[in-house]
């Protein structure tokens, strides 16, 4: 009986005007996505390679002495673009595409015995690079046509359009009474209606997505690795869960309404608020009501910097210059201590600022999670290797590389027997050239496990939304007087 009901419902769905409109819309959007992303990946990869090569060349120019690397750092570290940006663009153009390990600038320090010392010369990591999209962009703002947009906006609406009259329409036309007069339990009927909408919508999305992949493959844009195939498979798991949430919502409202049209009106208003307005406004409202401390507001860093300087001046920093005398003089030790502390303070400050900025966005994104759209977006972006989660992974990679780079500087210095081994003061370190090949290079690696872990969490949340709504729909339908 259940199978018969599902077949009937499915046939009705597939032969309806809305299915026809939905197919047109899906095919159109998937073609637009494919056209939009043809060659985009190749351009992104070429651009990334060019920038990385230029950064490495720049590093090679600086490795004439170890100290040059100590003060100038590893240079620009670029984020590797994802191959799957057509699935989830992830606002990558609004995120910084690099971090910079660079010199803090030569603060012209005191002149001791004719040598000018910098008081803030050691390299440090700057995460605060402005995104590629800055004031120069005059193009109107728009949402990228990717799978995320197609799924979260279009398919969520289609799910409601497919289910708004599932119960209310049959009540209105009187066919529900007829169906229930047979020995059909209500739960079976509701499940059949759910499954028919679920199968038709999932099928539509998968066909559209496969067509999109085929177009990109035929155009020579797409060459997927096993890891990327796993990521797409992950996306194909999240999609049906997200669709289920809205199908269950549609059934819930439909089982409460007396006729089809008011059911759709309520669903539409709910959809506009839940899918469009909350993800677009709520996070920003919460973030706007309690803005994080900005760079310009924080004069603390300068105060700390000056305090450190004053403290070391009081200890006689300017009394003597560092020298290459063996064993290291107290002046050399003092200068090393001062430069290291100054560097640590600056790095701490940079990291604190970064954490504040990240927390501000995470708070906004957490608030947005009351909408399944924001959850699905986060899951799809994590799987596609784009978006904020991916950026955090990049920053983690940058951090690890920073430590690796410093370890390399210390190891190289230790290997030089002539060096005083007092990092990071010029006289205390090796003055020999460094082989470029021996310097560790930055590699922005992404881990499939991390992506799946985020997607799993988000998927569970979506599943929870679905279960609550589906149970509510069942309870509501069971209690309904027909």
């Amino acid at each position: 009986m259940t199978w018969h009901l599902i077949k009937r419902e499915l046939f009705e769905q597939l032969s309806s005007l809305r299915f026809c409109l939905a197919t047109l819309l899906t095919v159109g959007l998937m073609v637009v996505n494919a056209i939009g992303y043809i060659d985009a990946h190749r351009t992104q990869q070429t651009d990334y390679r060019q920038k990385t090569t230029a950064a490495l060349q720049e590093m090679e120019r600086r490795c004439d002495t170890l100290y040059n690397l100590v003060i100038s750092g590893p240079g620009q570290l670029y984020k590797k673009p994802s191959n799957l940006s057509f699935c989830a663009a992830g606002s990558e153009d609004k995120l910084p595409d690099a971090a910079a390990g660079r010199g803090a600038g030569w603060g012209m320090g005191p002149k001791i015995n004719g040598v000018v010392y910098s008081t803030s010369g050691l390299w440090r990591m700057d995460y605060n690079i402005q995104p590629p999209l800055t004031g120069k962009d005059i193009f109107p703002t728009f949402l990228k046509i990717d799978w995320v947009l197609i799924l979260t906006v279009v398919f969520s609406c289609l799910a409601l359009v497919f289910t708004f009259d599932a119960i209310s329409g049959e009540i209105e036309s009187g066919t529900l009474r007829l169906t229930l007069s047979n020995a059909v339990p209500r739960r079976t009927l509701l499940t059949a209606k759910f499954l028919s909408a679920f199968v038709s919508l999932s099928l539509l999305f998968f066909i559209g997505a496969l067509m999109n992949l085929l177009l990109l493959y035929l155009s020579g844009t797409l060459q997927l690795t096993t890891e990327e195939c796993s990521r797409i498979a992950g996306i194909f798991v999240v999609v049906p869960i997200y669709l289920s949430v809205f199908i269950a919502l549609g059934l819930l409202v439909s089982s409460r309404a007396n006729s089809a049209a008011p059911s759709l009106v309520i669903l539409l208003l709910l959809w506009t608020i839940w899918v469009i307005l909350i993800p677009a406004a709520l996070g920003n409202i919460v973030s706007g009501l309690n803005p994080a401390q900005s760079r310009r507001d924080s004069s603390r860093r300068h105060i700390v910097k000056n305090q450190t300087r004053e403290r070391y001046l009081a200890r006689g920093l300017l009394a003597a210059a560092p020298s290459r005398t063996h064993p290291p003089t107290s002046a050399t030790q003092l200068w090393a201590e001062f430069l290291n502390e100054d560097r640590h303070a600056a790095e701490r400050s940079n990291r604190e600022l970064l954490q504040t900025q990240i927390r501000e966005i995470q708070r906004a994104q957490n608030v947005n999670r009351i909408s399944p759209t924001a959850i699905a977006q986060s899951a799809l972006e994590a799987l596609a290797g784009t978006g904020f989660q991916r950026h955090l992974q990049f920053l983690k990679n940058v951090d690890n590389y920073g430590k690796q780079f410093n370890d390399f500087l210390l190891d190289t210095d230790r290997a030089d027997l002539d060096s005083l081994h007092v990092p990071f003061v010029r006289e205390g370190m090796s003055d020999k050239p460094v082989t470029f090949a021996s310097i560790p290079k930055f590699e922005d690696k992404t881990r499939l496990e991390d992506a799946f872990s985020v997607a799993m969490q988000e998927g569970m949340l979506l599943l929870l939304f679905f279960l609550v709504l589906f149970v509510a729909a069942h309870v509501s339908f069971q209690n309904r007087d027909i």
Binding site: G36, K94, D137, V153, C157, L277, A281, I361
Partner: protein, 485 residues
């Protein structure tokens, strides 16, 4: 007719959808207003701090060559209604002799986003909320206006009375518009009240006119969507079918078409090659300038140890010699001639590069942006966005106006320097015989264009929206007559 209108108003007012419309509109608009007004206050504070800092720095140079002018763009208070490019465009620029200011110069800074990740959070302005919510509400009010009555059989009953079809349609239109006006007016007035209570924004008469323009445009926009809904309703037999079609039209017009058209224009129109070509040409012009400059001998170059000076040694960009040894005095006329020649040539090269850049910008970024904006005009939502941007002055032309003004100001400064014969004066590079006094130098005073100019920019798009209304009404009327012969 009045009875019909009254009936329509009462029917609509007592519905659940009207209640939802009021609550949704008021809640969203109020929350957005509070956030955007606070954000405006922060931007204004940043601007005021920058102005204070720069006004001290701008006129503290002791020589002409040492002066650098930093100018700031005030945030537009109407960006609360329509943000447009106001927050994205650079708001601090450095006026230099070797650079003509324009929107895309790399050396201009934006101080509005401290957290680079803030770009990730979408920002809805009041117009964007109206654009989505009011259009949907208009369709929700319209879907069953004819189809619902036709389905219930009340339409036939009504037509049995001596009432013309035009009167029925018109009363339905007026009744629904009155009901739609209420949540819109309420939220609009509450937004204004909220801004007044926060007390950050001082509205001028021109601003009130602009706000009036935004209000009028919003009304026409709502009316357009209501008429689209009415058209669909009169063409369908069942209210549910009418609603499905209306939803489809709404999604296409407000979400899909604007994004798809912009996505395609952005992807398909390439600008990089032309910009790179122009950059290469500009680079060549500057290389030529530097080659010519090197051919000329600066009598002071390389002899700075004999002259107490500060500044960028070895260039002609900025110099302040506080003492010139007497043995150099005979060479001063030659130094003056050198600076006169080099600085004039620098300005000429800057003009040439600007002409080059202006042309390529018109052919690339502006053309692309104009194509995108023209594509938006095929959707009422796009037209609404463009018209409100024009009223608020936050569109491309509004932001460009600041840079145009800065170009004029740069020319005024250069004329002032010319009148003072600054380039060939001793005070160009030395303050040993007295510092430059800046009292009579023209100050920059930028004001946003008058409301009339905003109206001139907004009217063509507004007219298009207005013209759509009678056309849609006529089409609805014809379909209605045909269906209910």
């Amino acid at each position: 007719m009045w009875t019909l209108i009254q009936r329509e108003i009462l029917t609509n007012l007592m519905t659940f959808r009207f209640f939802v419309a009021v609550v949704a509109c008021v809640a969203l608009v109020l929350a957005t207003t509070v956030v955007l007004t606070n954000d405006y206050a922060r931007r204004l504070a940043n601007y005021n701090a920058a102005v204070t800092k720069h006004s001290q720095r701008n006129f503290s140079a002791k020589t002409y060559s040492y002066q650098s002018l930093w100018l700031d763009r005030a945030p537009n208070p109407l960006s609360i209604f329509s943000q447009g490019l106001d927050k994205r465009a650079a708001n601090t620029l450095k006026l230099a002799r070797g650079r003509v200011p324009h929107l895309w110069e790399d050396n201009y800074f934006s101080t509005d986003y401290d957290n680079p990740f803030r770009h990730l959070l979408a920002e809805l302005d009041i117009v964007a909320i109206f654009q989505l919510l009011l259009s949907l509400l208009a369709l929700v009010f319209a879907y069953d206006a004819i189809a619902g009555e036709r389905e219930a059989g009340t339409l036939r009953l009504m037509l049995a009375n001596p009432v013309s079809r035009g009167t029925i349609l018109f009363s339905k239109y007026v009744g629904a518009m009155v009901c739609l006006l209420l949540p819109f007016l309420l939220s609009f007035l509450l937004a204004l009240l909220c801004q007044m209570l926060i007390g950050v924004i001082q509205w001028t008469v021109d601003d009130y006119l602009r706000i009036g323009g935004i209000f009028a445009t919003s009304l026409v926009y709502v009316s357009t969507f209501y008429l689209i809904g009415l058209l669909i309703s009169s063409a369908t037999r069942h209210a549910a079918t009418s609603l499905i079609l209306s939803v489809f039209v709404w999604i296409v017009f407000t979400l899909i078409y604007p994004n798809v058209s912009l996505f395609m224009v952005n992807r398909l129109i390439k600008t990089e090659e032309k910009v790179e070509q122009a950059n290469r040409k500009i680079e060549q012009l500057w290389e030529h300038f530097h080659r010519e400059r090197k051919k000329q001998h600066n009598p002071l170059e390389g002899r700075n140890p004999l002259v107490h000076s500060s500044g960028w040694h070895g260039t002609d960009a900025g110099k302040n010699c506080t003492y010139i040894a007497p043995e150099f005095e005979p060479q001063i006329p030659a130094v003056k001639a050198y600076y006169q020649s080099v600085v004039t040539r620098r300005i000429q090269t800057a003009e040439k590069t600007w002409r080059e850049r202006k042309q390529v910008l018109a052919d690339t970024y502006i053309r692309k942006s104009n194509i995108a904006r023209n594509a938006l005009r095929f959707s009422p939502a796009g037209l609404y966005q463009l018209t409100t941007e024009a009223w608020a002055g936050t569109g491309l032309r509004g932001v460009e106006d600041f840079f145009t003004h800065m170009r004029h100001y740069r020319q005024t400064v250069l004329n002032y320097f010319d009148d003072k014969k600054a380039f060939s004066s001793r005070q160009w590079f030395a303050s040993d015989r007295g510092e430059v006094r800046w009292d009579d130098m023209p100050r920059c005073s930028y004001r946003r264009p008058r409301a009339v100019e905003n109206a001139t920019q907004a009217l063509p798009d507004l007219l298009l929206l207005v013209v759509l209304n009678p056309l849609l009404f006529l089409a609805t009327f014809l379909i209605f007559i045909k269906k209910e012969m």
